[in-house]
Symmetry: C2
Subunit: 538 residues, 2 copies
């Protein structure tokens, strides 16, 4: 942070800091705090962005509870307390002659010269204020954007190729381009480095950028990416069918899922060297659910053969009509006691129905219960605008020196982490680069005890979001580790995460250093499993 | 063996030994050794078996090198030195009005009252003299049989449903029935217990007996069973196609397969607690072949992306046209340095072509290189006489008190051991019996360092065959452990195997106790990995 402070001082004084290359300098459009406020309030009328309309710019002092009247009700956020002083700018950006997206910029006074874009989740277009808050507090000029449409469902994509294109790839690129220009005009010169932060659908969008718009970002932090998106939605239907409705013989009640979880731990927790309730490598877990079979006359909770069959199916990969892998298995170790995956609730997976109704078939009455592998094939064939995001050639991204830092939770019950492994291996083969070579621009970390993007039983707070970090230095924060990698060439060997207490979800309890794939954590002691030094990556 | 000796003495004296139940007694047709010889030489003319023709009976003193003139040349055995005194009887047994099988009995002088049947390997019908020698030396009245046809290929099954029926299920049952009657007539009363010994195709035949003829045997020792036979042959074609012919981009030369083996060990050998060249649980091995990718300009041996893709395919399961599992993956840990699997030699798998030509399509020109998943589906649909041998209901076998002891090598590169796990789980679900309940009649052991039925890098000599045991007591011999389980109710918790020296293949080097599934061996020390006590089953 010392270098940042010097840089910031240099910017304020409008002088060059000798050790900074000229490409790292920005020329600020303001010098004092009052200037910043005045500049902000008048910025909307002064700025001019090609293809974009600026709606307003407003100074937001730290602590302001801003009203988000325009936010779609399904986004479930109508107000947001902004914790740092920012200039907030709202704009619309054309994504085609017939479509546009909304974007919002939070531009901090104490700007570091770094630009950062954030996007969305699921099939929806909600601006992620949590990520905007996080990045702007870390002094990035931060752009949040919808995905060409608002709300938390794929309904706007019905019969709407523009919306699909925006969702698949276009909005992020257009929003980023506009956001960069806005940032440049606001601060007086281009940002010296540009970053991306996203998880889930936002993680996929980060990979899409690395694949198709390698010039957009110098560093991408992409978590739990929804790579192979049409595959995920097919798999969701498959899982829902495997358990069936609540009255079917294959359905498991929550107490039975809790039983399954306990048995997974019993069989597999120790494989990483210690039984701490966390699987450091679910791939090693060859789960045998038959141990839970009911014996005649058994009183204790147990599973019928049909239920065991369902569990086995869920923890096995899904294959398609030509015997090809559609999607990896649900990973053992997901805590079905802490959090019941929506796939298992007895109704068709909402996410899956949503995609098939609004994108694959344009039929809002399509019923997930009718799902067959033919439907899976149809979704994979369609793959609109290559939303699958599975191009394994990252050579343009790599050769311009950009860095891709990805993480995936090992308790992720929405998108199994194995998908990130499969893509990693695909990139390796496509580019003929073994892990040691991929390390130069693409690093992947698996986070034990992390569910989808956050939460879970382990030390999952790695610096991926607001309320998800144990510190703001590169040693303890994935986003700042990415910054250091990009700006200083020091790449992360581990991502350290903090475990919050279960009581208040804030108090740090312990740290764990999560390994860079393909290394995995193994407990060697002699300290307890909550001691970082008791683990090695091997 | 003390009880056997007493029993034997009782038989000679034709008196009851008090502690033996009357069902365990036999009344011998001879009393002195000279009687035995005379009885043997005249037996062919005296005996009368329904549906069978006895060709000859001859006394064979220990050390005789018998000539096997009638043995099919592809069986590659024309002589056999018989190491113990036996009465050898040859017969033909009708298997239908239009078909027959050959069978041979080796009836020891010092008979224990135990009957044992052995069968065949592969798609052929060769009598296994090694197994006959082994069992008769252990004083079983031993029956060897062809499979309704002779030779080592499936050619006799071409347009011949009788031969297919004999191969699939009939010959073993008919041969056993005749063999039991022959034994009864020879010794004067029925054998007190009947056993089965077989591996590979013979292992499958053992399971077929347990499934369909539960009365035939009190104890079955079935190794590396070819369960799901039409699946194996489909998989063989699939593997051969994955590597392709020697000039294809996916083909790996033997040195490259050696490289793959070394890398598998590097990634996975330590997962069982120690690096001794043996994987105690290949399921835990999540092999990442991309580590071997060639980097631009690399001099050291390495793999191209296409070769890595082929390796990945081989170590992944095979799925069919409806996304259903056809066959599990080739198991990591097979020593492709010691022994190159025939699937990888660049030509279509002989075994697979053999089955498709002579059973599935009745077309001797069918070419394995044209194989598609449609062919796999055709083979599975055909499943003649349920040769798949996958009935999961062993209740008749279990309820009569019979015992099934199965083993499978963890370096088996012909039939992956995971197939035995899948069947085990299938039986568990079909009968709703968890492992602790299956233990009462069905126990499965995985043998580290065992290739197909025998050989390999580990302590694979468990008592499955001649030259494959470290002792003749139940504690060190799988066959005698089965006998003890059947006759005394003491079931094996481990199968102890001996490792022979690489130099002479005879000198015992160390022992390892192989665990009863689903337990696996883990090294805990403190002794070296060659000490039995350094391992625990957990």
């Amino acid at each position: 942070m010392f270098q940042d402070a010097l840089l910031w001082a240099g910017q304020l004084l409008n002088i060059s800091i000798p050790f900074l290359a000229s490409s790292q300098q920005t020329v600020l459009s303001y010098s004092t705090y009052d200037d910043f406020i005045a500049h902000c309030e008048s910025f909307a009328s002064k700025a001019s962005l090609p293809g974009a309309t600026i709606h307003f710019s407003q100074y937001v002092p730290a602590g302001t509870n801003i009203s988000l009247d325009d936010n779609h009700p399904t986004c479930q956020i109508s107000h947001w307390v902004v914790p740092s002083n920012v200039c907030r700018v709202a704009m619309s950006v054309s994504t085609s002659s017939e479509s546009e997206m909304s974007s919002e910029a939070w531009l901090p006074y104490n700007y570091t010269g770094r630009f950062l874009a954030t996007t969305n989740r699921g099939l929806g277009g909600c601006i992620l204020y949590n990520e905007m808050e996080y990045a702007s507090t870390l002094r990035f000029a931060t752009i949040g954007m919808n995905t060409g449409f608002n709300g938390s469902t794929g309904a706007p994509m019905l019969n709407n190729p523009n919306a699909i294109a925006d969702y698949a790839y276009r909005s992020v690129h257009m929003g980023t381009t506009a956001g960069k220009e806005l940032t440049k005009q606001f601060y007086g010169s281009a940002s010296r480095k540009s970053y991306y932060l996203g998880c889930s659908s936002g993680g996929r969008q980060g990979f899409k950028e690395a694949q198709d718009f390698p010039e957009d970002f110098d560093g991408i932090l992409a978590g739990a990416p929804a790579l192979g998106l049409p595959r995920i939605v097919a798999w969701g239907n498959y899982l829902s069918q495997a358990v069936g409705p609540p009255d079917s013989e294959t359905f498991l009640t929550p107490p039975l899922w809790a039983l399954v979880y306990d048995e997974v731990l019993k069989q597999c927790d120790k494989l990483d060297g210690t039984e701490d309730g966390l699987l450091e490598d679910p791939n090693k877990c060859d789960f045998l659910p038959e141990t839970l079979l009911c014996v005649k006359g058994q009183k204790k909770a147990c599973l019928t053969s049909n239920q065991v069959e369902a569990v086995r199916k869920i923890f096995s990969p899904m294959y398609g009509l030509n015997g090809e892998l559609i999607y990896p298995r649900m990973q053992p170790g997901i805590n079905t006691k802490r959090q019941m995956p929506f796939y298992f609730d007895g109704s068709p997976s909402f996410l899956s129905e949503d995609w098939f109704r609004h994108v694959v078939y344009n039929s809002t009455s399509w019923d997930g219960r009718t799902f067959t592998l033919e439907d899976a094939a149809a979704a994979l064939r369609q793959n609109p605008f290559n939303v699958e995001t599975y191009n394994g050639d990252l050579s343009a991204f790599a050769s311009r020196g950009s860095k891709l830092l990805s993480y995936h939770g090992l308790q992720d019950w929405v998108i199994p982490s194995e998908m990130s492994q499969l893509y990693y291996a695909h990139v390796a083969r496509t580019m003929s680069l073994p892990p040691a070579e991929l390390d130069k621009f693409y690093r992947l970390f698996f986070i034990s005890g992390m569910e989808h993007c956050r939460d879970g039983d382990g030390a999952w707070a790695i610096g991926q979001d607001r309320d998800a970090y144990g510190g703001k230095d590169a040693e303890e924060n994935a986003l700042m580790a990415l910054v250091r990698w990009v700006e200083e060439g020091v790449a992360p060997e581990v991502l350290r995460g903090v475990k919050y207490s279960e009581e208040d979800a804030i108090t740090p309890e312990y740290w764990r250093a999560h390994c860079k794939w393909p290394k995995k954590n193994r407990y060697i002691g002699p300290g307890s499993s909550t001691e970082e030094s008791a683990w090695i990556c091997e």
